[in-house]
Amino acid sequence: MKTITAFILTIITLAGFSAPDANEILKKVDKNLSSDNRVMESQITIQGKRGARTISSKTYAMGDKKSFTEYLSPAREQGTKMLKLENQLWIYSPSTDRIIQISGHLLRQSVMGSDLSYEDMMDDRKLTDIYTAKVLGEEEMYGRKTYLIELTAKVTDVAYHSQKMWVDAERFVPLKQEMYAKSGQLLKRLEMKDVIQVKGRWFPTTMVYKDMLKDGDGTEFKISKIEFNVDIPEYIFSKAALKK
């Protein structure tokens, strides 16, 4: 009897050891996705009722506090710039030659008609800083093995109280993410594809963002070029750079 008990205990312990630690997974995800700074060129494709439109832009980001985006095309959006410093956001529109600060209800408006609201762009702290994670199981997605992780906020000032994340078991890149309200209502879904390796880190270059409360096919965010840890001049993150 003792032998059987010892055998069962060994099995359980071994099983315990083989189950990946959710926080470890998150750390690896953060390592892949977060960087001191990055410069990227991207195309946002917004699916609307009258077809899709694509906006291309170039973004400079330093840590999670500063970012600067310039819209390159189409002609209507060309020259529009957006600056985010901490929790403040400014937009410069060349047609009016004015810098306006996005605040209040404007933060809740969608960015250029996409499924992203300005406030979605405001919170990009490291996942490990704001969530505790629990592995719910393993699932296959896009032909790859993923860990399904449940994230629950461990700080109070977090945008989404809980999230579900399907993380590639080999590359530690999320392939799908669902964001929930405190009430449990599914608010947003993010699907990530076309994972590439840049300077030793895995990074998804296509993200489909979907506001689950809104109709439509979502917004596709495609990165055409990305560079990590490059030198970005400090003046880029100033209001003066918006009018340049």
Binding site: G104, L106, S110, S117, D157, V158, A159, S183, Q185, L213
Partner: protein
């Protein structure tokens, strides 16, 4: 002087159609000016009255940080309800309200909305908050007609409402529109959703907190209490005053044109009279009138146009004014999104002061316009005038 009036009246009536044309034009100016001014007074009265009944009561206490024109302030504009206010709230003489920004998703569209929490049992304001007590498995909410129109929501519609609690965490829940109210006050209607205060405090993690209070006690100069400062009715309705002032200035141009037309006619008549009635002027002087007396006679004659016009205006104007004050004037456009309390139908209010001041202005202007050409008489040579020689 009495004889001057008698003569002037006789001369005027004797002039026949010429006089009556002038009088009709002038009476028209009278009626239009009084009516338009009446509309402005009526609008001012209605807007302030509606604001008092629907939104502000006799005044409000605002959280120090609250600024309805600055979106940044809304998130932090809340504080615990001061103990000093509690007796008034219990008596129903003060209504606490809590504001937060949110988003609704009608028919899969995203629409920003201000969420306002108000006690369901309040009776101070006309907002039908008792409907917030409706039994439903989701959060009962009420909205105004303009909001219902812009979001395509109807009574009984269910829609997802999303907000961030005081810590910044997203939360969302379904609300049911249990009532749609009709008001002329856009600041409680456009892009706003009203829910029960307690539900709101619970959802935002702000128990016993409020953004502002409307109160029934008209006492002026109430001191600031804690984080809340007094906003008197006068301050809260200052925008209406400013709007009325602007409108009134705009209208003055119109009055000026109207009066100018009437005055031109009178001026012309006076010039013509003096030109054509030189023999008469010479006779007056020959009979012993001083030149100044002749000038007075002609001035009175001209000014009497205004008196006759006032009488004529009264004949058709008074029934028109009475009819208008009952039926009102419906603005031929949608006023609901003007951002001010404008009723679609405005009821003019005419005060004695308004009628007297208008009459006085018209009378004075007519007198001046009549006197101006009559001054020439003083320079006339009576013998030449008697001979009818043009001078």
């Amino acid at each position: 002087m009495k004889i001057a009036f008698k003569l002037a009246f006789r001369n005027l009536i004797g002039a026949g159609l010429r006089t009556w044309l002038n009088v009709i034009v002038l009476s028209f100016s009278f009626v239009v000016i009084i009516w338009m001014k009446g509309i402005l007074v009526g609008w001012d009265h209605q807007a302030k009255n509606d604001m008092e009944q629907w939104e502000i009561g006799k005044g409000q206490f605002w959280h120090n940080q609250y600024d309805p024109y600055d979106g940044f302030t809304i998130t932090d504009s809340h504080a615990p309800i001061p103990n000093e206010f509690k007796p008034e709230i219990e008596k129903g003489e003060m209504v606490p309200m809590l504001f937060a920004q949110g988003t609704i998703y009608p028919q899969g569209r995203m629409q920003p909305a201000m969420i306002k929490g108000i006690p369901a049992n309040q009776t101070l304001l006309k907002i039908p908050t008792h409907k917030l007590d409706s039994v439903t498995d989701v959060i009962p909410a009420i909205i105004g007609e303009v909001m219902a129109r812009s979001s395509h929501l109807e009574k009984g519609s269910r829609v997802v409402l999303r907000w961030r609690d005081s810590k910044g965490t997203f939360d969302a829940a379904e609300i049911e529109i249990v009532d749609i109210f009709s008001t002329t006050v856009p600041t409680i209607d456009v892009a706003q959703v009203w829910i029960n205060l307690e539900t709101m405090q619970e959802k935002l993690l702000l128990p016993e907190q409020a953004t502002l209070f409307s109160f029934a006690n008209a006492e002026e100069n109430r001191p600031a209490v804690g984080d809340f400062r007094l906003k008197t009715k006068k301050e809260l309705t200052a925008e209406i005053d400013a709007m009325i002032k602007t409108k009134s200035k705009g209208q003055s141009v119109f009055y000026f044109i109207l009066l100018l037309l009437a005055m031109l006619a009178i001026f012309d008549t006076q010039i013509l009279s003096i030109f054509r009635r030189q023999k008469e002027i010479g006779t007056y002087v020959a009979l012993g009138y001083t030149r100044q007396q002749v000038v007075t006679l002609f001035t009175v004659e001209g000014a009497m146009h205004a008196v006759l016009a006032a009488a004529l205006a009264a004949v058709y104007g008074i029934p028109f004014f009475i009819w208008q004050s009952k039926v009102g004037f419906t603005i031929p456009m949608d006023t609901s999104e003007f951002g001010m309390a404008i009723a679609p139908t405005m009821y003019p209010i005419y005060s004695v002061g308004l009628i007297l001041s208008t009459t006085l202005i018209v009378l004075l202007t007519t007198s001046v316009v009549s006197y101006w050409p009559a001054r020439r008489i003083a320079k006339m040579n009576p013998t030449e005038a008697l001979r009818g020689k043009i001078q």
